[in-house]
């Protein structure tokens, strides 16, 4: 069976800087926007691009993520001629290996890709928030007969050292690439989204596998070695909303971006037609706002019960905010309970936490706090 395009979503990351949120959960499975998990975004983007074959590569704390992905039905990726596979490290004749890097993860699943025999492979990260289709990027890749197309965006110079920085010629071909440079020369950052012509990808992954000194990473190894051999690497400039939520503060900010007062570039309501974001069904009751509640500038999911004050908050299902409780600039993840008299400021409250009666969380308001395990962490 030969297909045009297969997508591989790298979802094995730990997300260390998210602290307690990813203690027992892979980063792509972290909840976001009151209703979603982060991985809903790349998976919905695949669905909206008409991609039918998706492999999701999981490793760290994979159980919850694996069952969430299942056969892809939450994103409609279980239709006729569709295939959604969870690809976790496996035991083979050669032994058993963890994924040693992003490139190694794909290398270890070349057998899965060979079965599909795709012409092109789209490689995505499972923990980025953006709503788009990959149609234009693929079109450009084919038109330019590229070996690899890298999605890029401009970033502020101060942040450039966090990214892989590209140097391009006047036709947008990549002529230089440096992963997390200490002194960045430019501001054109790789988003970790690639389209490869499968034949080229396979060749470079195989060559990289045997290298002892390699990190087996796309940014550090594969892309630079392709540039060194003067392969056709194209930069695809993406201008829309895109967030790599690495820290508690950036996850908090990405949630707040969804509010009416937030970032107009990401609006779950206006993207509905072209890039609908799909997610798991749940069977909670309708959202109830109590007689003495104050609700201002919020995004609140079904199943929440708000009897207190919530101002500038993102609130998930089955959250209860008691009478007399107050939450400001806060993300309440699913199943949280803020009891009466409690006050929560500038905080991200982890799933199923209970903020005690009268407890004041992050009173000093000097940064975004995480409330997990019954206490505030900064």
């Amino acid at each position: 069976m030969a297909i045009k395009l297969a997508a591989m979503i790298l979802a094995g990351g730990k997300g260390t800087r998210l602290g307690a949120l990813t203690k027992k959960l892979a980063k792509p499975a972290v909840s976001y926007g009151g209703k979603y998990r982060i991985i809903d975004f790349p998976l919905s983007n695949c669905a909206n691009s008409g991609i039918t074959h998706v492999g999701v590569l999981t490793q760290y704390e994979s159980s919850a993520l694996n069952s969430y992905i299942g056969n892809g039905k939450n994103w409609g990726l279980n239709g006729v001629n569709c295939l959604t596979s969870v690809l976790s490290p496996k035991q083979t004749e050669q032994g058993s290996n963890w994924y040693r890097g992003t490139a190694d993860a794909i290398y270890q699943n070349l057998d899965w890709l060979d079965e599909l025999d795709p012409e092109y492979v789209l490689i995505l990260s499972g923990d980025h928030i953006y709503a788009t289709t990959f149609d234009e990027m693929l079109e450009l890749h084919i038109k330019n007969k590229a070996d690899c197309t890298v999605a890029v965006r401009e970033v502020p110079l101060a942040e450039a050292s966090r990214f892989g920085i590209c140097e391009t010629d006047e036709r947008n071909f990549i002529i230089g690439f440096k992963e997390k440079p200490k002194q960045p020369k430019g501001t054109l950052a790789s988003m970790g989204i690639y389209i490869f012509t499968y034949k080229s990808l396979k060749k470079y992954l195989k060559a990289d596998f045997g290298k002892e000194k390699s990190d087996h990473d796309f940014g550090k190894d594969i892309i630079p070695s392709m540039i060194a051999r003067e392969k056709r690497l194209l930069a695809y400039r993406y201008g829309g909303y895109w967030k790599d939520v690495g820290t508690i503060a950036s996850l908090h900010q990405a949630n707040m971006d969804l509010l009416l007062s937030g970032d107009p570039e990401i609006d779950l309501y206006s993207i509905q037609d072209s890039a609908h974001i799909y997610t798991e069904d749940n069977h909670c009751t309708p959202q109830y706002i109590g007689p003495d509640a104050v609700v201002r500038d919020c995004l609140i999911n079904q199943g929440a019960c708000i009897k207190g004050t919530v101002d500038h908050c993102v609130i998930s299902s089955d959250v209860v905010v008691d009478e007399g409780a107050e939450c400001y600039n806060t993300v309440l993840m699913n199943g949280c309970h803020v009891r009466s008299g409690a006050k929560v400021y500038d905080c991200l409250v982890a799933p199923n936490e209970a903020v005690r009666k009268g407890e004041i969380v992050n009173e000093t308001r000097d940064g975004i706090a995480l409330y997990a395990g019954g206490r505030t962490v900064k």
């Binding site: 926007g33 009151g34 209703k35 509010l259 009416l260 007062s261 779950l268 309501y269 509905q272 609908h276 974001i277 799909y278 997610t279 069904d281 749940n282 069977h283 009751t285 309708p286 959202q287 109830y288 706002i289 109590g290 007689p291 003495d292 509640a293 104050v294 609700v295 201002r296 500038d297 919020c298 995004l299 609140i300 999911n301 079904q302 019960c305 993102v314 609130i315």
Partner: protein, 373 residues
Amino acid sequence: MKSVTGIVNFHTAPKALPITKERPLGSTSYLGRYAFCDFALSNLCNSGISQVGLLVKDHLRSILKHLGSMNSWVINTKIGHTHIMYNEPGQRDPRLNSDVNNLLENDWMLYDSASQYFVFVPSHLICAMNLRPYVKAHIKENRSITIIASKQRNLKSSWIGSDVLDFDDKGVLIGSDKNNGQFANPRVVSLDTLIINRTTLVNLLRKFAPLDPKADLFTLIMTAYKEGVVPITVDYFDGFVRAVDSFAHYMDYSLEMLDKHKADQLFNPAWPIYTLTHDTPPALYGEESEVRNSYISNGARVEGKVINSIIARNVHIGKGAVIKNSIIFSSVNINEGAMVENVLIDKYSIVERDHIIKGKAKEPIYVAQGAII
């Protein structure tokens, strides 16, 4: 319960409500999130009844739209089946569009099924009912027909059109009467929920259906009972239950759920009510929004004021607009500065900027689907 087939009966719902002009009550919106038939379908599913037939009377399109892939209410999607039972000859001659004729038209459900028992539940009853103990008692006591009923206090103005049942101290039916508001005292009313042995049902249909081609199932069973063919046992349901019988009651039975204590009687985490979900984003509230004592569905954007109301999916309430004691169905746009009080606004309607529409608490106004006011 492999030996049981559930039949959701859309024929027994009250007729001629303004909200049911283009849809049956079974697929009409409730609390902005559900359709009435979600309760029947969820009760069957939660009771472990996987074989389900939907005895559809009319407005099939509306029902199919709500059912989607029909997998939302089955546990095992291979073992469980939801079948549409539709009476085509009945569409040509509405006088013959009865549940009995629909059953006869779709009698393969009776003959092909391995089920020994059939449970009929009405499509519009609001309740969380575990059918297992009733079926268990029906089988254990070797009954032919069980009617599940409920003791109700106010028959003067509610349960109009329902059957009031009389029975002896063993629960065996001895008579019935239609409620037209003539009963001053609390009485036991039929919930139109029946458990019938398959053989009994087949025999009754064969013997009595030809006698009156317009008879409904309850009438047919009562005829058989009166002729001494089959005894009927009455069993009690003492949980929370509502049957909408008028537009005013639709408003009352919806808005009363704003009382959380009442809602808790209906919604129990151990007995989930399933519905078709739509992948709509969470509800979005503006900086000037003011919302109190209301149910707000996902996909709603509230920038104005909402008090004691129910707002369904994809509704937009503009800045400065005020909604009070009202129910707004899905995809309605209430523009800036509009005032809506004691009103039900049906789907796809638009209330123009600064427009005022006010009903009375006892006489709410109905705004039809797609209206621009």
